[in-house]
């Protein structure tokens, strides 16, 4: 068995509009290894949440996978019929959403929701499932789990609710968890706790996590590797330390420089001019070319694919700068 759990190859997601087809994801390539947390970072409109939705088969119509394949544990899952995909969801892939309030059913107790999910995926009777539910809640760090089992979601605080959501995602013992902005709706002091839970789960259970977020701090805290998305493409992918401390793609460089430091005094933040192009207005060639400080002719002409960076093992960048260095 190789160590790649999920591989996404040349994934293209399109949204047909009445007079044109918008390409929201444009040949995404990435792999998730067993037991790792892959961070997926990008600004709004970069396509990070959409990638998650495409993997779990929850693209909102009229969005559709137009090209490429998604392989989970040796099985192609992008073209499965609805019924089969439903079994994979929960059993093989768990999902944690941004807002813990809307991802729990307000009129059912935590126990009811957990037991139902557990029994959908695992052959257990009511009693066993209840025991399992207590274990899960303990695992995600809910104090006095047995006593709180029959509480309703509104009895829990925001951070505790998000833990319940994580417990629900774990109920089917999935190999992969897709966490879409799991900390964004939470207070700073609670964020750190949720990140810790995710990290611990990954370590203890050997599950893989795709952590989708706009917050570079969360990525730096939690991820093993990170994919930086820009305008529906992977701009850079590599070990988190390399990407954070020594970014290669001009966009990643700008992104890192634009975050205010808590350690150093900076007079002016680095700023990337302009903003992410809209889907119907993605420039020719490299999508970053209007904002790039190192742009040259080729960037206006051809769209770069991921290229290995010579000096950095395991790091790939979609930028012509690195192609030239390789050839010269």
């Amino acid at each position: 068995m190789n160590d790649v759990l999920l591989s996404v190859r040349d994934l293209v997601v399109e949204f047909p509009k009445r007079d044109k087809v918008l390409t929201a994801l444009d040949h995404i390539n990435l792999e998730v290894r067993r037991g790792e947390i892959l961070g997926m970072v990008g600004e709004s409109g970069a396509g990070k949440s959409l990638t998650g939705a495409a993997i779990i088969g929850l693209l909102e119509p009229p969005g559709r996978i137009a090209h490429g394949e998604i392989v989970l544990d040796g099985q192609r899952i992008d073209n499965l019929p609805y019924g089969q995909m439903r079994r994979i969801r929960g059993r093989k892939i768990g999902m944690v959403f941004q807002d813990p309030l809307t991802s729990l059913n307000p009129i059912l107790t935590i126990a009811e929701q957990l037991i139902e999910t557990i029994r959908t995926h695992l052959p257990m009777n009511e009693k066993q499932a209840r025991e399992r539910a207590v274990e899960l809640l303990e695992e995600v760090g809910i104090p006095a789990a047995r006593r709180r089992l029959d509480d309703y979601p509104h009895h829990f605080s925001g951070g505790m609710r998000q833990r319940v959501v994580i417990a629900l995602a774990l109920a089917g013992e999935p190999d992969l968890i897709i966490a879409d902005e799991p900390t964004t709706a939470l207070d700073v002091s609670v964020q750190a706790q949720i990140i810790d839970v995710l990290k611990r789960l990954c370590r203890d259970r050997g599950a893989s996590v795709i952590l989708v977020t706009h917050d570079m701090g969360v990525i730096a805290e939690a991820a093993d590797r990170v994919a930086v998305l820009y305008a529906g493409r992977v701009a850079e992918i590599g070990p988190v330390r390399q990407v954070v401390k020594d970014p290669s793609h001009p966009y990643t460089v700008g992104l890192m420089g634009s975050i205010p430091s808590v350690v150093h005094d900076i007079d002016r933040l680095t700023q990337i001019p302009g903003s992410m192009p809209r889907l119907d207005n993605i420039p020719q060639g490299c999508a970053f070319n209007p904002r790039c400080s190192q742009v040259h002719d080729r960037c206006y002409r051809d769209r770069p694919n991921l290229i290995a960076v010579e000096s950095k093992p395991d790091n790939q960048v979609a930028c012509w700068l690195f192609d030239e260095r390789a050839s010269s």
Partner: protein, 317 residues
């Protein structure tokens, strides 16, 4: 200082015509045959009613032009005495039913539009006030609305009509009848506008652009009219369209019951009432054709309203 540039400098604003062609509304319109048919029918009836004095073959309520011999002429055939033909036949007095319908639709539409306009101005005004002021102003307006809503619209209209009858001297009653009718229908229908506008106003007034305007010491009436009103009008158009159909039906109902416009200025409802006396004696056309016109008009307007509601609702698009 840096100049932020949108990727690919945007062209100047497209022309109005271009924007209409590109709009989602037109797109949705052109893909709904039922809506297109409704629209065409509505336009035809409205145009015919507006242009009645010019296109009607006869002036049905000018006694001088009537010939009693033409009475009860069936549609599409010549009168057995005079040899005159009337497309939709004549009534007992020899009045051309087609012309009567054109003139009748004119009255119905006039009353309908005016009543809706009246209800809209009243409802939107009170709704804005209730939503923005809150407190006892809100409680008072909305309780009145609740009480009124617990009675059927026709009862409210009948009551207002009755009161006005008592107030206006008898010799002016026929003249004033139309205004009384507009008032009665309008007053029975303002609640919907008020409720909708109130809830949107309460949502809008907490938005930051309204708070910003308050920081500029913009007076309350200006905030209401310039800031909030333009942002709450969307649903009003939908209610008004559906309300128009209801107002036309209510007007016809009142006229049918004999409390609406006088027989000298018959609306579609009056025509139906006049005609129904002859329904069982075989002169069906006198009541059926005005009835069909009313049905087609009310249905078309209603379908348009339904479509507008769906098309403007971003959740259903």
């Amino acid at each position: 200082m840096t100049t932020e540039q949108t990727a690919g400098d945007q062209p100047l604003r497209p022309s109005l015509w271009r924007r209409i062609l590109d709009s989602d509304l037109l797109y949705s319109f052109l893909r709904k045959p039922v809506v297109i048919v409704s629209f065409v029918l509505t336009v035809i009836i409205v145009l015919a009613a507006v242009l009645a004095p010019w296109i009607a073959p006869h002036t049905p309520f000018d006694p001088a032009s009537l010939n009693l011999m033409n009475g009860f002429t069936p549609p599409f055939s010549a009168n057995e005495f005079t040899g005159d033909t009337f497309i939709l036949g004549t009534d007992s007095q020899g009045r051309d039913v087609f012309s009567a319908i054109l003139y009748g639709a004119r009255i119905s539409l006039l009353v309908g539009f005016s009543a809706v306009a009246f209800a809209m101005i009243l409802g939107v005004g009170l709704g804005l006030l209730a939503g923005y002021k809150g407190g006892w102003v809100d409680s008072l307006i909305m309780r009145v609305a609740d009480v009124q809503l617990s009675f059927p619209a026709i009862l409210v209209a009948l009551m207002i009509f009755g009161v006005m009858r008592g107030v206006i001297p008898p010799q002016q009653q026929d003249q004033m009848a139309i205004y009384v009718l507009i008032l009665a229908i309008g007053l029975s229908d303002w609640v919907q506008y008020a409720r909708t506008v109130r809830s949107s106003t309460m949502a809008e007034k907490n938005k930051e652009y309204v708070q910003a305007a308050r920081l500029f010491s913009v007076p309350a009436h200006r905030i209401l009219l310039k800031h909030i009103l333009p942002n709450v009008t969307g649903p009003i158009l939908v209610i008004a369209t559906i309300g128009l159909a209801l107002a036309i039906i209510l007007e016809s109902t009142l006229s049918f019951l004999g409390v609406g416009v006088p027989a000298t200025q018959p609306s579609l409802g009056t025509l139906i009432r006049i005609g129904q006396d002859y329904l069982f004696s075989g002169e069906w056309w006198i009541t059926i054709f005005p009835g069909l016109t009313l049905l087609v008009l009310a249905l078309s307007v209603n379908l348009l309203g339904d479509w507008l509601r769906d098309a403007l609702n971003p959740k259903l698009r």
